[in-house]
Symmetry: C2
Subunit: 150 residues, 2 copies
Amino acid sequence: MSMDQDLYLQNQLCFKLYTASRLVIRGYQPMLKDLGITYPQYLVLLVLWQANEQGQLPLSLKALGSRLHLDSGTLTPLLKRMQQLGLLSRVRSEQDERQLQIALTEQGIALAPKVKKWRETLSEGLACQQQALTQMAQQLDQFIGLLETE
Amino acid sequence: MSMDQDLYLQNQLCFKLYTASRLVIRGYQPMLKDLGITYPQYLVLLVLWQANEQGQLPLSLKALGSRLHLDSGTLTPLLKRMQQLGLLSRVRSEQDERQLQIALTEQGIALAPKVKKWRETLSEGLACQQQALTQMAQQLDQFIGLLETE
DNA sequence: ATCAATTATATTGTGCACAATCTAAATGAG
DNA sequence: CTCATTTAGATTGTGCACAATATAATTGAT
């Protein structure tokens, strides 16, 4: 009847990641509610804001998906909802009609400064832990790197 | 037009957590497919296996939910599916009819040794990184602690 | 004892994730 | 050129997450 502690929930790295991720997303809810978007939609905007600043818009759905590690089954309906909200445009490429070109609208661009203000608030609660957070972020980068290349 | 790098996707701890979590879950798919369950169902089994070993079964839905940080909206349908699979039982408490008592069936108990075997395979790929993983696990524990008590 | 408040779970509705499959456009070897 | 192959997205179906609300059992103050 004995089972060793390999199978205890609290010893599982996968569970820690899953929990930490969900709790962090919960922390974003006040901001997301204010912006009228969801968390994955916020991640899409982060990609598009950076691409916009670097003159890389429009971005194909595939390019967006590879940055987020999400496929068309997830992104197609998500991007349609964001289009409905007026945050982005979805247009077929003329050179290659298979490709869907995603670009920001003025309304989508206009959310960036709001997020900047919210982030100043968000970070206060964790500011004292800055060094630990930086270290964890580095380790997560290494870890994700391992998983990506497998 | 300049936006500083606070809003770059790859600088967001939240995105790293979200990605790492999803990629790890993908790594579990071969095992989960073999067992015929999903990842959240696997986490439920981890809780129940440990509770069983410690003589704590049955567990109320609330007790299960507090360990997993999940509420009844998620767990009620999930546990019904696991009941359909024959992995656990759902019975109302006689002392307090509001409570739903969850217990393992023989079939649910029988999956544990299969998981043990799969875990030996899974860990091989990451074994060389053991120290880094342990350190990250500790940091995630601290981090989750911060988020839980807020 | 009674009823307002609390507690445990269920239900409803929205939005991801993701596997599996489908469609249509582009490519490339012959 | 032509047809098999590849590629980009869309679609379908299942199963979470979670907010909001509903329901029914229990508790507690009076």
